[in-house]
Symmetry: C2
Subunit: 227 residues, 2 copies
């Protein structure tokens, strides 16, 4: 029987590339998508669905996490807070930080993986994130793996796989081009509009990666973006 991997699939570049990487590594894909009241919820869901279909995923579990809005504290989920432009962020901790988000997502992924007897969880955390987001640090990932090992049944062995932990966005894109990831089906921008804003941090890093590799990004950007 083929090994199974729960893949956290947001619909962005990193998670889509990770899911393609898991498939190439020989896993059947169980796609896990979260909508947590972020402004770009519908766009991300559509992208995640398309990527999951393109990977012939065995399951697509969409989990609504309304509680991040109840808890508040992040510009991604709090309508009263503006999404900052790249370079305008708080140096210590960006307002786009959803407190302890990855731990929440990984806890759910572990519950799902244990019920499905999956062998692994793939998540696209990566280097350029963990300067600002503490729950992207390699040490956090290690600690969480230990919590998974101790907090699940003794017969359960789920490996937390973070293939791009030491990658930057350009490395990820490079890998994704080798894997033929359909980047037209991915969405990175923090703003909810037809075209990516080209101004927020997420757009900034995506555009930078495409520019570094001298390839053109298949998604549309605002005319007046910094692209």
């Amino acid at each position: 029987m083929k090994r199974k991997a729960v893949c956290l699939l947001s619909g962005g570049m990193d998670s889509s590339t990770v899911a393609y990487f898991a498939k190439e590594s020989g896993y059947e894909i169980l796609a896990l998508h979260f909508s947590y009241g972020q402004k770009t919820e519908e766009k991300e869901r559509n992208c995640a669905r398309m990527i999951a279909e393109s990977l012939d995923a065995q399951d697509f579990l969409e989990i609504p996490l309304s509680y991040f809005s109840q808890i508040k504290g992040s510009s991604l989920t709090d309508p009263a807070m503006a999404v900052p432009a790249h370079g305008e962020e708080n140096k210590d901790l960006p307002t786009t930080y959803v407190p302890f988000r990855n731990a929440n997502l990984l806890a759910i992924a572990t519950s799902y993986a244990e019920v499905q007897s999956a062998d692994a969880i793939f998540i696209g955390v990566q280097a350029s994130d963990y300067a600002g987001y503490p729950d992207c640090r390699p040490a956090f990932i290690e600690a969480f793996q230990k919590a998974m090992d101790l907090g699940t049944a003794d017969t359960t062995n789920i490996k937390l796989v973070t293939p791009f932990l030491s990658f930057n966005k350009t490395d990820i894109l490079q890998k994704g081009m080798e894997l033929h990831v359909p980047y037209a089906m991915t969405w990175s921008c923090y703003q909810n509009s037809d075209r990516a804003c080209g101004i927020c941090s997420s757009c900034h890093y995506r555009m930078e990666a495409f520019a570094h590799l001298k390839i053109s990004d298949p998604i549309p950007y605002e005319e007046n973006s910094s692209r």
Copy 2:
């Protein structure tokens, strides 16, 4: 300013006693209640509300976690699975086990505590649970504390407090009687009925504790229960 503690308050004996313990230790209480599609959802919510009010809690955050039903795998949330009687359970892992549940609840509690600048999280995990539930093991709690330390902002310091980890149900009840916990406002039974069934594991341990201390339990039980 008084220290603040997020208290996981299910409405059962253990969590109610823990919340009283936190209050006595000098904390303001931020009550956090989860409804995760368990059969006794409404009953537990009412009990948790009453206990929070009796503690003059600063906040009562109720978070609906419908995803445990989406993930399935536990008799507490899956309508197709029967809640077993005490002694009829699977020896290795009870069907009442919701996979990795405590990790999910603690991840949310940590997000909430970080946004609220709380100093501690109190949870009523205890000894007689961790034989069957891996996410009640002391080693799991330690591992999760480490994940909290590494996965939150460097300026955030939240202590995970489990005062009853080495207690059994009788020890908890003894402590609760000293703290004048109103046990009439608590619900333990896994079944959803007006009177506690007296048959499920949760009733079994509660009844045993009251019997050990030779005090009478203020909640009503079924006539034909093993009490």
